[in-house]
Each structure stands twice: as structure tokens, then as C-alpha cells.
């Protein structure tokens, strides 16, 4: 991390600014997004630059916000809705599930809804209750939605541009604890090409095992991979970037190359994205697997109070434990000085 550089919040702001600049159909709307620039300042300066019709403060009613955006999209605009926090997007759930996800289908493709729903999500910020939910499971279980979540500054810009340009509705989950991390990135830089939605990326190659993750858990996995290296294990890290569409191809290639995989996410494990990923990998890569796919996830408890959240969130140690549990052959154990790794789950 460089001290100078761009934060994810700034990259998202730039993406919105460029989208507003490039396409008059784009309209940003939500609670406090105008004068204030959003509680996370992601829309900072947009109302001043583009006017309060293009970046509009709305009444405080999430279903009304999303429902109104649906109507605007029906007219031909390209709304970008901000939900203030993960747990405050729930009032809009019916609009999302019954209309946003289904409108194209109900109308045989005649009424697609090009609309982006930005949701700051996840924990680790010491937020009081209802400010730290990982709500991706609700969305990815709903056919008709794309579910995208960036983990890096460059992806935040690139994927948001792709989401806004998409003719399908995209739930764009922003890992809020990554908002203020800086990277050496500029929209005009050489690393700027915008990744298409639906492609996972190998953030770090590794020959012994692969950590499959997304959004806020990427740094945890990278750190765990570094630590594993010290133990003599070469662990790769795969950033999904998009849960829907799901990149089976890249995931399976990474698993086949290593034979061992751990899925890491903050959301509770039961019925979560990790369960789907582990099942898919099992169905597709069974004969390449040296061990069952392990999951390291949040506990199956309501999101804890700030002083307890570190016990809930998957940390480096838990990820390392799971890696050690991947039924390594005794030769590998020997490489680690004969340390007795536990076998099985």
C-alpha cells in the first residue's frame, strides 16, 4: 500500500463521474447522495457537477427508491441507485426480487432493466448492528440479477463502469472496509482496462492449493497465502469478482491445477456462496481433488457487536488452519518438519 495513491472510494466516485459524463441516460439516486455526497462520500461532488436531477437526493424509502428507479429504467434511463448500507437495502427486497430480477423475463425481453444497485456491504468497520451484513446470498439466489463485488481499486472502477453499461440489473456490492485502502492506480493508467463482468482473476498463482474468495476477504487470503509460504506451501488466491455470472471455468482451472481449495467469505456459511462454490467444484473437479473443499466463513450467528466481530470474521489464522487441514500427504508433512497436520474436517 502506498501512502499516495487512489482509494476505492475515489475510484468508485470517478467511475460514477465518467458514467454521468459519457451517457446522459445515467442518473444517480439515493439517500444523501446529493449535497452530502453520500455517507461514504462515493457520490462526492457529482450533484455539483451534473445537477441534482442527475445525482438526486431521494426521500428516505428504499422500496420507493428502487421502485422509482425501475420506472425510470422502463422509460429508458440508466439509474444507478445507492442503498446506504447492506441491511438498509432490505426494504427494497420485494422490488428487487419481484420486479428488478424478473422484468426482462416477464416481458419476454421487451422490458430489460439496465439498472445498477450499489450496496456497501460487509463488516470489519466496528459498525453497530445493521451496518455490517454480508447480504450477497440473498441476491445470488435470485435468477435475473448479476451480483458483482470488487476487491481492488482498479476493479472498483472497471466493474462499476461495466455494471452501469450492462443491460441487465446488477447488484454491485462494495466492500465497505476496503473503501479507504489505497492503491497505485489511475483510470488512465496501464492497468486500467476494464474487466468484463463474470470473469474471476488469479490474484496470486500457487501450485499447492487455491483460496477462492471475493470482496472484503481478498486481503485476508493474500496475507494467509504469504503466511503459508513461510510454512512451505505455495497457495494461490482467486478473486471471483462476480458471483453471478459465476466463472466456473477459471475456478475449475485453478482447482485442477492444485487439487486443493478453500473458499473464504465473511457471510455466514450455511446456505451461503461458499456452499454453492464447494458443490460446483465437487461436481466438476472431483477427480482432481486431493481433499474436500473447505469453507472458511462467518459464523452462523447474527452479525456480532463491534467488540466481538473479530471472532466472526474469517481471519488469517482460520484460513491457514483450513489450508493445513487439506489432507496433505506425509511427504508434504515431512517438508514441514514433520509437523502433524490434522487430516479431514
Amino acid at each position: 500500500m502506498t501512502s499516495r495513491g487512489t482509494t476505492m472510494a475515489e475510484a468508485l466516485n470517478t467511475a460514477l463521474r465518467h458514467a454521468l459524463r459519457d451517457d446522459p441516460a445515467v442518473h444517480v439516486m439515493g439517500e444523501d447522495v446529493g449535497t452530502l455526497g453520500g455517507v461514504f462520500r462515493i457520490t462526492d461532488g457529482l450533484a455539483a457537477e451534473f445537477g441534482d436531477a442527475r445525482c438526486a437526493d431521494t426521500p428516505l424509502a428504499e422500496s420507493g427508491i428502487l421502485g422509482t428507479a425501475v420506472g425510470m429504467a422502463m422509460y429508458g434511463l440508466r439509474p444507478v441507485v445507492e442503498m446506504q448500507f447492506d441491511a438498509f437495502a432490505y426494504p427494497a427486497f420485494e422490488q428487487l426480487v419481484s420486479h428488478v430480477a424478473k422484468m426482462r423475463n416477464r416481458t419476454r425481453g421487451r422490458l430489460p432493466l439496465p439498472l445498477t444497485i450499489r450496496v456497501p456491504y460487509g463488516g470489519g468497520i466496528g459498525g453497530v448492528e445493521h451496518h455490517s451484513d454480508s447480504s450477497e446470498g440473498y441476491y445470488l439466489h435470485t435468477p435475473g440479477l448479476h451480483v458483482v463485488t470488487p476487491a481492488t481499486v482498479g476493479d472498483a472502477y472497471g466493474l462499476l463502469r461495466r455494471a452501469i453499461a450492462s443491460d441487465d440489473p446488477v447488484v454491485f456490492l462494495e466492500p465497505k472496509r476496503r473503501y479507504w485502502t489505497k492503491e497505485d492506480w489511475s483510470p488512465d493508467g496501464p492497468a486500467a482496462p476494464v474487466p468484463p463482468i463474470g470473469r474471476a482473476v488469479l490474484r496470486r498463482p500457487g501450485t499447492d492449493a487455491v483460496l477462492i474468495t471475493y470482496g472484503p476477504s481478498l486481503p485476508v487470503c493474500l496475507e494467509a497465502a504469504d503466511a503459508a509460504r513461510e510454512e512451505g506451501l505455495d497457495v494461490g488466491v482467486l478473486d471471483l469478482r462476480s458471483l453471478v455470472p459465476f466463472d466456473d471455468e477459471t475456478v475449475c482451472a485453478a482447482v485442477r491445477a492444485t487439487g486443493r481449495a478453500v473458499v473464504v467469505h465473511e457471510a455466514s456459511g450455511f446456505g451461503g456462496a461458499g456452499a454453492e462454490i464447494a458443490a460446483r467444484v465437487g461436481e466438476r473437479c472431483f477427480h482432481h481433488l486431493e481433499a474436500p473443499v473447505r469453507r472458511v466463513t462467518g459464523l452462523d450467528v447474527p452479525y456480532p457487536a463491534p467488540l466481538l466481530e473479530r471472532h466472526h470474521l474469517p481471519g488469517v489464522d482460520r484460513v491457514l488452519d483450513a489450508v493445513r487441514d487439506l489432507q496433505w500427504p506425509s511427504a508434504t508433512r515431512a517438508r514441514h518438519g514433520g509437523e502433524p497436520y490434522a487430516v479431514g474436517a
Binding site: 424509502a61 420507493g64 425510470m72 426494504p91 423475463n105 419476454r108 421487451r110
Partner: protein
């Protein structure tokens, strides 16, 4: 007022000044035209047009209900008794305006000019929406109550932002006015001053639940006041009054006057749907009292008294109704053609790889099925 002006005003006045609610309040008595001197001033051509639509509409309701008995429609929520609202809603709009109907409002959709068979696709079971919403400017029939009302606001707001003078008319029932989205839609309409009109067809019941258990509001039209939206009550079985009130509200919206909430007092003579048993929650006496207020009869009584309903006009209306009904019977009798592969066609602009796999699997199943036949 533009959004810019709204913001400037809000900055100058951090709290809303108490605004006089009087202009927003509905009149003490619902608007009526039929049976009043005002009826004599109405254009006879309009009266005849409304009449023809009512006669065809009544026949449409009866024919659709009959089709459920023959198993040709899975279900039909009839608007028999509410035809005045249905017809007036369609006729109050210009071609470029948008209509946002519910499951109850197939007749309004047909009266707007959508093919009856395409309108009934949802209830026939071959797909959800059968007509092209963009071509006809009719949103899909909405079943989750009141959830389409914010869509109407958004579409109208978007049009206004784009300098387009279209209006959106959204329909709901009395029960729908208890849903959160009704209130959120009115909130947004009030704040944005979107050119939208809400028509509540108050038929007294939400399935079995009477209005007294639904709300303690003085009238449903009063519900607009809290949102800065004027409320109007109208006799919903007086097609001329409903048409007049809606047309005025639509044109007010078009000229920048903002949204209106219209409550039409009406009654559904049929059960909630063909699958419902209305005898469990309402008396025959009550139904008889409303039968005496039948919207078709009421217009015909006026037309006869005014010498506007000669035998030929009446015959022509009935003939149009029979032609529609015969066409509907014939076309609905044909088994609808469904294509299982279409299941995958409209989920995303480009099907995902996973949908591609599922599509291939279903195609293989269908080939196996065809081979074993």
C-alpha cells in the same frame, strides 16, 4: 418546480412550513355526472364511445369468466361491476401516455387497444406478459399489490426530466392502499411532482376483507393529503364522472400541475376470482343493492332519457361485443404453443454459461421424450 428549485427552497427553509391542507382535501361528496344537470352538457359522441366500450367490456368480463369454467383460463379476476373505471382509465389517456394495471385491470388494457388474447396470456398460463409493454405503453399486469405504483412515478418522473409531456396512470385496489409501496409512491410523486395519476378502485373488499378492517382513514382519497397530493373522490359507477375526473387529473399532470389521487367508489359484482366464494363474506342483499347501481345500466338509462340510444346504436354495440367474444373464444380454444427453450431466453441479455448447460440438458430431455413417444 424543478428539482434545483426544490433544493434551493429546502436549503432556505430547513423545515416544511405548515401548508394549508384544504386544497388537497377531497370534496365531501364524490363527483357525479349522470343523473345531474351536468350530464346534458356532455358531448354525445363521447357518451356513445363510452357506452360501446362498456357494453364490450361487460361482455369481455362474462366471456373471460366463462373461459375459466371451460379450463381455457387458469384464473380470471373479473372487473364486472367496475367497467366504468376500467373504460374511463383507458380513454382518459393519450397514445403516448402509460397505463400501469393490476391483475384486475385486463379490461382497461383491452380498452386501451391491446389484443384481448395477448392481455390474457398471464391468466392463460403460457407466459407472464403477453403484450409488448413498450409498443402499447402498458406496463405488465402487476400482482404483488401496489409494487407497480413507484414504477409509474419513476417513469413519469423520467419523462418529465427528459422534457417529454407524457403522463402515467396507475391503478390499484382499496386493499393496495395499505401496502408500503402505495405510500412510498405517493411520497415520491409528491416530492418530484411527477406527472402521475393514481386511480384507486375502491370496490369495498380486498378478497374477503372489508374496507372497515383495512383502514381508519376518512376516505382513501384523504390518503393523498399527507403526501401533498390532492385527493378526489368519484362515483366509480358513473363512467362519465370517472372519465371527467381522470381526464382532468391527467391533463393537470401533463401541464405540470403534479400528481392526483383519485378514489372511485365501485363494487365487483363477481367474486374476487372464479376460485373465490364471495358468499362467505358478503350478503346477497348487498350485491343486489350494487346491481341496481350497475355502471352499464346507469349510462344506458341516461342515454335513453337523452334520446341518444336508438335501436341501431344499441345493436351495433352488442354486435361489437359478440364479435369480440367469438374471436376470444375461438383463439383461446387453440392450445397455446409454448417453447421450453424460451425458458432460458429472457433471464439475462446474454445467457450465462450455467444457463447454457441447463438449456442443453433440457434439450436432451426433450429429445429423449420425443424418441420414446
Amino acid at each position: 418546480m424543478t428539482l434545483q428549485q426544490t433544493t434551493e427552497r429546502a436549503a432556505a427553509e430547513p423545515r416544511t412550513p405548515g401548508r394549508d391542507p384544504a386544497p388537497l382535501l377531497p370534496d365531501r361528496r364524490p363527483a357525479r355526472v349522470l343523473g345531474t344537470p351536468a350530464a346534458d352538457a356532455v358531448d354525445p359522441a363521447l357518451l356513445r364511445e363510452l357506452h360501446r366500450h362498456l357494453v364490450v367490456g361487460r361482455r369481455f368480463n362474462e366471456q373471460a369468466t366463462a373461459l375459466t369454467r371451460q379450463g381455457r383460463l387458469a384464473v380470471y379476476p373479473s372487473s364486472r361491476g367496475q367497467e366504468a373505471c376500467q373504460v374511463a382509465a383507458a380513454l382518459a389517456l393519450r397514445p403516448r401516455d402509460w397505463l400501469f394495471p393490476t391483475y384486475r385491470d385486463t379490461l382497461a388494457v383491452v380498452a386501451r387497444g391491446v389484443d384481448p388474447v395477448e392481455t390474457l396470456t398471464l391468466l392463460r398460463g403460457d407466459w407472464h406478459t403477453g403484450y409488448d409493454p413498450v409498443e402499447h405503453r402498458v406496463a405488465p399486469l402487476c400482482t404483488p399489490l401496489a409494487t407497480h405504483l413507484p414504477h409509474a412515478v419513476g417513469l413519469a418522473h423520467a419523462a418529465r426530466l427528459s422534457g417529454d409531456d407524457l403522463v402515467a396512470l396507475a391503478l390499484t385496489g382499496d386493499g393496495g392502499t395499505s401496502e408500503g409501496d402505495f405510500h412510498e409512491a405517493l411520497t415520491f410523486a409528491g416530492v418530484t411532482r411527477a406527472p402521475v395519476v393514481f386511480l384507486v378502485q375502491n370496490n369495498g373488499y380486498a378478497i374477503s376483507v372489508p374496507l372497515a378492517k383495512q383502514t381508519a382513514a376518512p376516505t382513501l382519497a384523504h390518503k393523498g393529503v399527507g403526501y401533498g397530493v390532492p385527493g378526489v373522490q368519484v362515483d366509480g359507477n358513473d363512467v362519465v364522472a370517472v372519465h371527467g375526473v381522470l381526464s382532468a387529473a391527467v391533463e393537470r399532470a401533463r401541464s405540470g400541475g403534479g400528481p392526483t389521487l383519485v378514489e372511485a367508489l365501485t363494487y365487483r359484482l363477481d367474486a374476487h376470482t372464479n376460485a373465490d366464494d364471495a358468499a362467505r363474506y358478503r350478503s346477497d342483499d348487498e350485491v343486489e343493492r350494487w346491481r341496481a347501481e350497475d355502471p352499464v345500466t346507469r349510462l344506458e338509462t341516461h342515454l335513453r332519457a337523452a334520446g341518444l340510444l336508438d335501436e341501431e346504436t344499441g345493436r351495433q354495440a352488442l354486435a361489437a361485443a359478440e364479435t369480440m367474444a367469438a374471436d376470444l373464444r375461438r383463439r383461446v380454444a387453440e392450445e397455446p404453443a409454448v417453447d421450453p427453450m424460451e425458458l432460458f431466453a429472457h433471464v439475462y441479455a446474454t445467457p450465462t454459461a450455467q444457463l447454457g448447460e441447463q438449456r442443453a440438458r433440457l434439450a436432451a430431455e426433450l429429445r429423449a421424450e420425443a424418441g420414446s413417444r
